[in-house]
Amino acid sequence: MAQSDPAVSSSVASSKSVQTVSGITVRLCGDSGDGMQLLGTQLTNTSALAGNDVATFPDFPAEIRAPRGTRAGVSGFQVQFASEEIFTPGDTLDALVVMNPAAMVTNLGDLRKGGILIANEDGFVEKEFKLAKVEANPLEASVIEETYRVIKVSMTKLTRDAVSEFGLGNKIADRCKNFFAMGMVYWLFGRSLEPTERFIEDKFGKKPDVAAANLAALKAGWAFGETTEAFGESYQVEAAELKPGKYRNIMGNQALALGLVAASKCSGKEMFYGTYPITPASDILHELTKYKNFGVRTFQAEDEISAICSTIGAAFGGTMAVTASSGPGIALKGEAMGLGMMLEIPMIVINVQRGGPSTGLPTKTEQSDLLQAMYGRNGEAPLPILAPRSPGDCFDIAVEAWRIATECMVPVIILSDGYIANGSEPWKIPKVSELPEIKIQHPEGTDGSEAYKPYSRDEFLARPWAIPGTEGLMHRVGGLEKEDVTGNVSYDPANHQHMTDTRAAKVAKIAERVPEQDVFGEPSGDILVVSWGGTYGSCHTAVSQLQKQGHKVSHIHLRYIFPMPSNIGELLRSFKKVIVPELNMGQLRMLLRSEHLVDCIGINKVQGKPFSVTELVEQVSEHLPASSAGKKAGKKAG
């Protein structure tokens, strides 16, 4: 078992009994202004520092401050921390912290029977019941006490008492109550206060009284846990057995930004990032603006079209050029993506998917832009598509996208999603020396005596990336069809056919340069589960459970969506049934069926939420062969 660093082990030790468990799933819920996201992030970081494997699921409304106290305004943060490798933030909750009635009634359904419900008693008053549209105090219902371990804490009052010496007034004092809650949660799960203490000092250092009050609230919360009779024991989760190495906790959008910076360095290129603010992609911009000293130029354009067109302009000039958006913005970029494809110029287009269509569900996750990425352009305009499978994987996908873009002279689409973008996990920090070198060669200047051929091609059908400023290579690019080799405008019918075929073949050939698809489980059997993007964790865990039950179920998770690795067809045909779980109405399923003529069964959901492991296990089980499923049916009957 991995050793946790003694320096970060609990700085305060509980005197009550401690129960060791393998993992805990906890959700923290309150008003969107209650600081629940901060609480969740801190608990995650602290758990990661304690050596646990962690996975998170922040879930918040699209409104910045939705009406206070209402169900629409509830903001939640779920985290699972465990002493074993985990891939999801957990299905059912072991503990739920609620700051008001709205948070309780909208989240209680996910708390397991016998789970711990911690409620801020001071938030359960008449006025709040009305806002939450509940008839009576939901905490008083007898069924609640019978079903859960309910711990009512007067958090508002206790926080005010704890910070009274700083004379902040109730309004500011009440803002400290998330730190009180944090202290209590930290006590319950044996977490060290030290990382959060440091965080408070860093963040509020310029306001010493606020820093001191938050620290006092945090400690008071911990002390309350230690002294109150309501908590009989605390829980401990040992460090997980992760691969040896140095780790940090990372969110998907953050990892994507770091991956882009790494790709720029690995290729010896400075970066241009043209974008327009949109949820949930904006954090990539916020992250990249910090890296100007890495030669990153960020451009907040006047609209989505300008964002991508400026990116194409930068790419034409020889810079590593990237644009990002979410579904609605990608729709606006469609025409320019077609131009980028026609210019055969390297660049990256990121779509951090959210619930659609139209404005849809801006802060919720979905995978419904796959066909948009495949076909959302006029004409025959194939572009390669990659999809990260987890927050940390965003880093590798970014580097890989730039490798493919430059080797093949083509815009590459990255399909991330809101779940990965905002979720976090421990990330094994790569060594810079081990990152792949991305070699880029621009053609050198000539005396111009021979006409330059901008559309000549190498063995991968990539054309040269000749950049302005190079003597003798003056040429013109554009959206009109180009003559093969010369790049002159051409309306010739045979040439158009040839160029269309060539552009498609160039993208198809990428399959030769990506690794074969690996399989989790046997390479043949009863059921193959095929997934892509952010559903990796749930699908992997579900298949793992089914395998442990003795079923012949395997899993492949696609990171290369288009073109797919060359062995996909063979794998699909090696199983009796293929099941494709997706957070859309069956888009990958359609692609697999049309490309490989293999029947596929969909598990489809668009509820703005990720798959739970339980629902996947149940739904996949329905398709097990009779003999195999008999075990399950027998169990049920028994």
């Binding site: 991995a2 660093d5 970060v8 970081n45 990661a48 520092l49 050596g51 990382p195 460090a239 691969k243 040896p244 190495g245 140095k246 780790y247 940090r248 910076v261 360095k265 400075e270 241009f272 043209g274 100007k292 000293n293 890495f294 030669g295 990153v296 130029r297 451009f299 006047e302 609209d303 079209i305 300008s306 067109c309 400026s310 194409i312 302009g313 034409f316 000039g317 020889g318 810079t319 050029a321 025409e335 320019a336 131009l339 210019l343 920090i429 810079v432 200047g445 006409a451 302005p468 400023g469 190079t470 290579l473 003056m474 040429h475 013109r476 554009g478 959206g479 009109l480 002159n488 405008v489």
Partner: protein, 335 residues
């Protein structure tokens, strides 16, 4: 090393020019080729970026780098290019439909950012490439294929739009007035910041003679006033002039007023109010101004500033170190 002396022909690409015979675009192309050798910028350092429309075929005919992009978006490609490659001289070639209709947003934002590029807007007051629909600069009542009962849109003035965005260089010239056109393009090229040159361009197929009052040599002098910095506004062989009365401009006979009454053109005035009054002068009530309405120097350019910030960040934080970046924040070791 001295640069080779280039001639206009050196700037011609090997492609056949495919505009309609008699199109005003030919004259603009000829003047551009004539002006570029004087600027001392090597061909490989020049990029022409265009949108869509007749005028936007321009880059194909120049032996420089070029991009024929998508409708209305040329300024945005230029923004990405110039921000990352400030060493290049970037020209944007656009038309009245391209810049003011589909690309209106990008046009104003390029101007307000003061990116160091030169925008040449070919204004023929018609959609030529799509065969004759009215454009955002077509006059009210204009009968076209899409407005058989006459246009009911109020026309937009490119100069007014540019001045409203506080563009630092705003000028107008005429395809047929070749000497003036060449000089104006040269001034635009020399200005640091976004330069806008509106060129009255005759579409002899779909809108022939729409601006004949300004294009035809015989009429021009009566209908056009050539602006010159520090000089009074006079036209019609010096017989007429323009003066400022209260908050409007009026035409006077120069014989009837003292010389001092005439408006002295100040292209350098940071306040665009009088420039806007000039832009609003329109035929047949007033003579239309050509030449440089506004040329304000010393305003920081977008491309300089975006690159200055990068340099400053490198100076303050040191050249980016990936290892340090990856290992920032809280970390822990396993194994």
């Amino acid at each position: 090393m001295s640069l080779p002396v280039l001639k206009p022909a050196d700037f011609a690409s090997d492609q056949d020019v495919r505009w309609c015979p008699g199109c005003g675009d030919y004259s603009i192309l000829a003047q551009m080729k004539k002006v570029l050798p004087d600027l001392g910028v090597p061909r490989e350092k020049i990029v022409f970026v265009s949108g869509i429309g007749c005028s936007s075929r321009f880059p194909y005919y120049m032996n420089t780098y070029g991009m024929h992009s998508i409708h209305g978006r040329a300024p945005t490609f230029a923004t990405g290019l110039k921000s990352t490659r400030p060493d290049l001289m970037v020209w944007v070639i656009t038309g009245d439909g391209d810049a003011l209709s589909i690309g209106g947003n990008h046009f104003i934002h390029a101007l307000r950012r003061n990116l160091d590029v030169n925008i040449v807007l070919f204004n023929n007051r018609i959609y030529g490439l799509t065969k004759g629909q009215y454009s955002p600069t077509s006059l009210e009542g204009h009968v076209t294929k899409s407005t058989p009962m006459g246009s009911i849109d109020h026309p937009l003035s490119p100069l007014s739009v540019a001045l409203a965005a506080e563009a630092t260089f705003v000028a107008r010239s005429i395809d047929a007035h070749v000497k003036h056109l060449g000089e104006t393009l040269k001034r635009a090229a020399q200005h640091k910041g976004t330069s806008l040159v509106e060129v009255y361009q005759n579409c002899n197929v779909f809108n022939d003679g729409a601006m004949a009052y300004a294009q035809e040599k015989k009429q021009r002098d009566q209908n056009v006033v050539e602006l010159q910095h520090g000089k009074p506004l006079v036209f019609d062989g010096g017989k007429k002039g323009v003066r400022l009365v209260g908050n409007h401009l009026e035409v006077v006979n120069t014989d009837d007023v003292p010389q001092d009454d005439l408006l002295i053109h100040d292209e350098k005035d940071p306040n665009p109010s009088i420039h806007m009054m000039l832009a609003r002068m329109s035929y047949p009530v007033m003579p239309e101004p050509i030449g440089v309405l506004r040329a304000v120097e010393g305003i920081p350019t977008y491309d300089d500033q975006i690159n200055d910030q990068v340099e400053l960040a490198k100076k303050q934080k040191g050249e980016g170190d990936l290892d340090a970046l990856f290992n920032s924040g809280d970390t822990w070791v396993v194994g």
